[in-house]
């Protein structure tokens, strides 16, 4: 997969304009542009100065070698993804999650050859692979930690390193803040409590302040580390405020330009339909005026969205508390690590569904951890569907006509390759059931309409139609999966044997 990169056609983003990322990422970029290799390349003629210089918007057409350089950095940074995938799959293997012998290898390949990452990182240009690799490392650490009882030293170390890893990831990209409640509650209950046996054989949990201090120190150190250089500037408060406003731009609107397929897209879509119906409906004008107050639906403010998101996260918080509690008992029904992965998937799905101004790529945060449990027969079909809808939503990112065959065949070869691979590890007809086939046919129809029929028939009129259709299709599919994942989450935590 590494070689499938140099598609010098799409426009890159020079580092100078990537300023809506947290400080950690800024330092990553700094390291990319100020290291011996880059300096050497700059000294030789291969890489021109213009590539890394601050440029005005009018003149930022990158040269070929510049594009090549940037793409190579993405490929090199993908090493983190490879390492993370390897680490997490081997952790899951230790857990006994995989029954089939070739499942770990298949899972590894599914993670690293994910079409979404390929489209986003290597064609659209982003560093998602690296971030998700760090997330996978963090998950892998927690899974390793969950193997043993919570009071063992090895388990504590794994949990601490997992938390540190996540904190560092958060300082690189704030998209992952949606996972914070899960990490917080799970680690608080599992790591910061010590179990002591009672007289009648039960278990009493006692809060340990020293453990909390340890955890807080490690986490904050790795999270706040990148902020320190900004704090020692002349105007620390202004710097932080500036960073925060860049990170959380609430003035950009509820949905992203491309309408990521989430709940808000569906909400707005229904609102528009209602408005359209209202306009056509032969109603008395008085009634119309009354209805106009709520139709089209009011656009929720960021505050309301935040509240919705918190509500959406309540199940995972509750289950994380419960799991953190019963993981202290000896008689574990299922492993807390497995729950944790489902928790990550659910949290990211909730964030994607309810977040403010969500980008389509946020779905990758759900898909990639889901891959780790895809080889389990219970989850295979769901993983397949989630990928099917999620990646379909990413296809409009490649909008040029000459990228049409590319994205089509990336999608098709992924579908068949994954179907073959999963059937071998999870048994026959776990994927590509009747429902999946119907979904694929429907997606195919939508795709043909938006890529071929629409431009040929409508031309420039109804330009919003293809994108809206895509996002509505994806949002319906993903809401269905969201529901399924909620059910899975509630089941996976098991029943508490703690009293």
């Amino acid at each position: 997969m590494e070689s499938l990169f140099l598609l010098g056609q799409s426009l890159t983003r020079p580092p100078s304009i990537c300023r809506d990322y947290p400080p950690g990422f800024a330092f990553f970029e700094y390291a990319l542009s100020n290291n011996p290799i880059t300096t050497r390349l700059l000294r030789s003629d291969w890489l021109d100065e213009k590539c890394l210089a601050l440029l005005p918007d009018s003149d930022n057409e990158p040269s070929n070698s510049c594009i090549e350089f940037q793409r190579i950095t993405v490929i090199v940074s993908d090493v983190v993804l490879f390492a993370g995938a390897y680490f997490a799959t081997s952790a899951m293997k230790r857990l006994g999650e995989y029954r089939c012998g070739r499942a770990p290898l298949t899972t590894f390949f599914l993670v690293v050859s994910n079409p979404g990452l390929f489209l986003l990182d290597h064609i659209h240009f982003q560093y998602n692979g690296m971030m998700l690799g760090m997330l996978l490392i963090s998950i892998g650490c927690l899974v390793r930690g969950s193997e043993l009882g919570p009071s063992t030293v090895a388990s504590q170390r794994w949990e601490l390193s997992g938390a540190a890893c996540y904190a560092f990831l958060l300082s690189m990209k704030h998209l992952y803040v949606i996972l914070a409640p899960l990490y917080l509650v799970y680690l608080f209950r599992r790591h910061c409590f010590v179990s002591t046996g009672t007289d009648d054989g039960g278990i009493q949990l006692r809060f340990s302040i020293s453990r909390l201090a340890c955890l807080a120190f490690v986490t904050l150190a790795s999270f706040l580390g990148p902020f320190v250089p900004f704090l020692v500037q002349n105007d620390p408060v202004d710097q932080i405020v500036q960073i925060m406003t860049r990170l959380f731009p609430f003035d950009r609107g509820l949905v992203h330009d491309y309408w990521a397929g989430n709940l808000w897209a569906l909400y707005l879509f229904i609102g528009k339909i209602m408005a359209f119906v209202l306009r056509k409906l032969p109603l008395p004008s008085g009634a119309k005026d009354k209805l106009r107050v709520i139709i089209p639906f009011p656009v929720p403010s960021p505050r309301i969205v935040a509240v919705c998101m918190l509500i959406g996260l309540i199940p995972v918080i509750r289950q994380a508390w419960a799991v953190g509690t019963w993981s202290h008992t000896r008689s574990q029904i299922s492993n807390p690590g497995k729950f944790f992965i489902h928790g990550v998937v659910f949290s990211s799905l909730s964030g994607f569904m309810l977040g403010y101004h969500v980008h389509e790529k946020a779905i990758m945060t759900a898909i990639v951890p889901m891959t780790l449990v895809a080889a389990n027969t219970r989850n295979t079909a769901r993983y397949f569907r989630m990928n099917m809808f999620g990646v379909f939503g990413l296809l409009p990112l490649l909008y040029r006509p000459n990228e049409l065959p590319l994205k089509t065949f990336v999608y098709i070869s992924w579908i068949f390759g994954t179907a073959v691979a999963l059937e071998r590890v999870a048994g026959y007809q776990t994927v590509m059931q009747f429902a999946d086939k119907m979904c694929l046919v429907f997606l195919g129809v939508v795709f043909v309409f938006m890529e071929i029929i629409h431009p040929l028939v409508f031309g420039k009129t109804f330009e919003f139609l293809p994108l809206m259709l895509t996002s509505i299709t994806c949002s319906v599919g993903l809401i269905w999966l969201w529901g399924e994942e909620t059910e899975e989450l509630l089941q996976s935590s098991g029943k508490s044997s703690w009293r």
Partner: protein, 826 residues
Amino acid sequence: MRALAAATFSFAILLRIIIGFHPHSGQDDYQGPTVGIASNPVKYGGDYEAQRHWMEVTLHLPISEWYYHDLQYWGLDYPPLTAYVSWACGWVAHNVGSRFDGNRPPDTCAVADGEECSETPGSSDGLVELKDLVALNSSRWGFEGRAGKMYMRITVLVLDICVYMTAVWTIAKRLVPPTNDEASMPGYFTTSQQQRTWLVLTALCQPAIVLIDHGHFQYNTVSLGLALWSFHYMTLEDSRTTSFYGPVIGSVLFSLALNFKQMELYHAPAVFAYLLGRCFRHGSERRTIGVQTTIKFFSLGVAVMWQGMFFRLSSVYHDSMYLKSCRKVANIWCALSVKPFSIRNRIPQDMLPIAALGLTLLLILPICGMLFRAGERKQSVGDDLKILLWGASGTALAFFLASFQVHEKGILIALAPLSMLALDAPRFVSFFSVVATWSLWPLLVIDQLQSPYFCSIMIYTCIESLMKVQIQSTDNDECIIKFLAPVSVVVMIVLHLLEFLVDPPQSLPDLYPVLWSIAGCGLFSLLYLMILAAVWALLQQQDYHKIRKGGRNTVGVPAALAMSLLLLSMPEPIAPLVVMMSRTKGSKLNAHAFESVPDLELTPSLLSRAAEPLPWEVARAKEKTPVLDLSSARDLSSTLSLAEGAAEEGRSDENPSREFLEPWMDGTLWKSTELALSSLGIDTRQALDRAPQLLRLPTEQVVQAAAFVLDFCNSSTKLIRLDPTLLCYDVLDLEHGLGQYLPNMMFRGNATQAAVSVRTQLALSPTMALAVVKMGIDGGMEERRVSRALGSAGQASGKATQTIVHETGRTYRGFKKTKDGKSSLG
């Protein structure tokens, strides 16, 4: 299975699409790092521009002008089929473009590459460009817009899918035929499915072919695919209809391939030789003369075409093109024109083409001869195709090495048939394709295809090594390649590094291309020899198969021969296993004979014959009666003779009385024996005829003996048929004789070897085998008798021993006397 095939093909297509995003030959008129942006006043760009230009020419001009129009600017120099295909592509482009001509915006910026135009998602403006792409004359000098390039790439891709991929799929299905269990177990992939998938994947991801067609831009896959289709049809199963139509359709397809690209001539000698051989093939069914003449006609047509083209090409050898393109190619003439040899100065210019012709003929002759033999004989189906594939790539490689005016891309002709043989010789094929791609490097540098070069080689190596992990293949002639491959890969990498790091010295600016050419030439020569060896081995193997196949047709006897031959070639531990397996199979096969045994008529003569004592019975009886009471004997010689005589007389006296007493006389014993024997596949009547004593021997004993003999002879009844008296022996005697005495006497105690050699002997000369077996049994019985006798005799007195010694000495002297007399007589 469908999902597996779809995944394979879509991956191959994806690879092609991705490589298609890279620069094509002569993009922006870039002509390589030494030349840079060329400012040739006559021509622009490379093969891409040529193909585009042909579309334009064929679309807008009448047929009569196609081959005459402005030859200076990429004149059409491919055979007519290419021109027709160009016309079709041009026609489609023109019509699609015209459809959007109406709403063309006044100032289109679609031509400017890489610039952010007013394009919006899903915009169809780009398609207007297609009309300009094929506009006459105005489109010259580099029409390389995004949509135009996409369209050109898509034409290659579509033709590739339609012709080459289907051909690969068909041949893969031929080489790895579907087994019966494929349909019954969905979701689980059988070995044949896996093998076929890997074969298709490796064949479709051949880096050289993909890079040249989808990177450099050419339509090689069309001609290669047509050639593969023709190979498929030529070697179709030899039934009455296909033996006629197969070669005919194959010849037509091959002519089409020739008509698309004259480079297919490299395959022509192989095809010609094979078809010629087919003309002389005498099948079991009589073929009419008409069929033969038709096939001859087609094959000769191909041959004539080939020769005509060959001489036509030889007349243009003196072109300046030769001098220009020769340097970089990895063939013999280029390698030999380097300084110490500098062959071009030693041989006069006029003689060079003739020398090339002679060398080419010399190199293709052995392969053609072998292909002729392959075509001439009747063989199993898959092997014919394999031989043709090997041979075709061999001749192509011979042409590439030895003929003139060769282009680097000529190696593709050898590579395409070879890539279908990835399962037979995985190491060889993968090594060949890497070397072929590597030899294209100088060309790819000019095309700016360095990164896809490295990446596609990497992908191919990954696929190919995964294949090796997944499929344990039986690769016979690996020892050379095992040594050669790592060494030459290291050489290749070192050359790459040197080229990257060290600039060539001023005096030798062409150092690296020349090094490339020499190393490539050496490797290709070795590979040519290995192909030769492979074809030869395959031909020999077919002889071997032929014997085995004939053995299966006639029941019984030759199966034993084949089996023994196989067993001889096998290592020892496997032999007993095979014996066991074949025995179970044999007993199953003969189970049906159980019922159909008619009753036996018991005649008095038979009964009397049955009552006759067997030799070993006589001996045993003799043993039981005290043969000689040495302690009481005075006249030893008389005692001996008396004792023997008395015993014999006594038994012969008893005989008539026994006739009416024995329980076996009513035939019930024989009935059960007969049933048991016939279930083992033994002809009971014949056996009884020759060994009437079977009538009275206990069933158990006979069956044990029969089973032992069958086991010993590898379940062949041949020995029993030859001498049924073997069944009359006691199984203990048989075991001792054949299991211990015979090996001890003749095979240094190695029982397996003894059994194997008896089986072999049985196939070659059954009487000899019988003699050996008999000797073993008799000898063994004698040995046991003697040992028993010695055991009893040990108790006898020293005098008796002395007497025996004395007696023996006397006998020996007498024996010696007679022997001396005989030898003096002789």
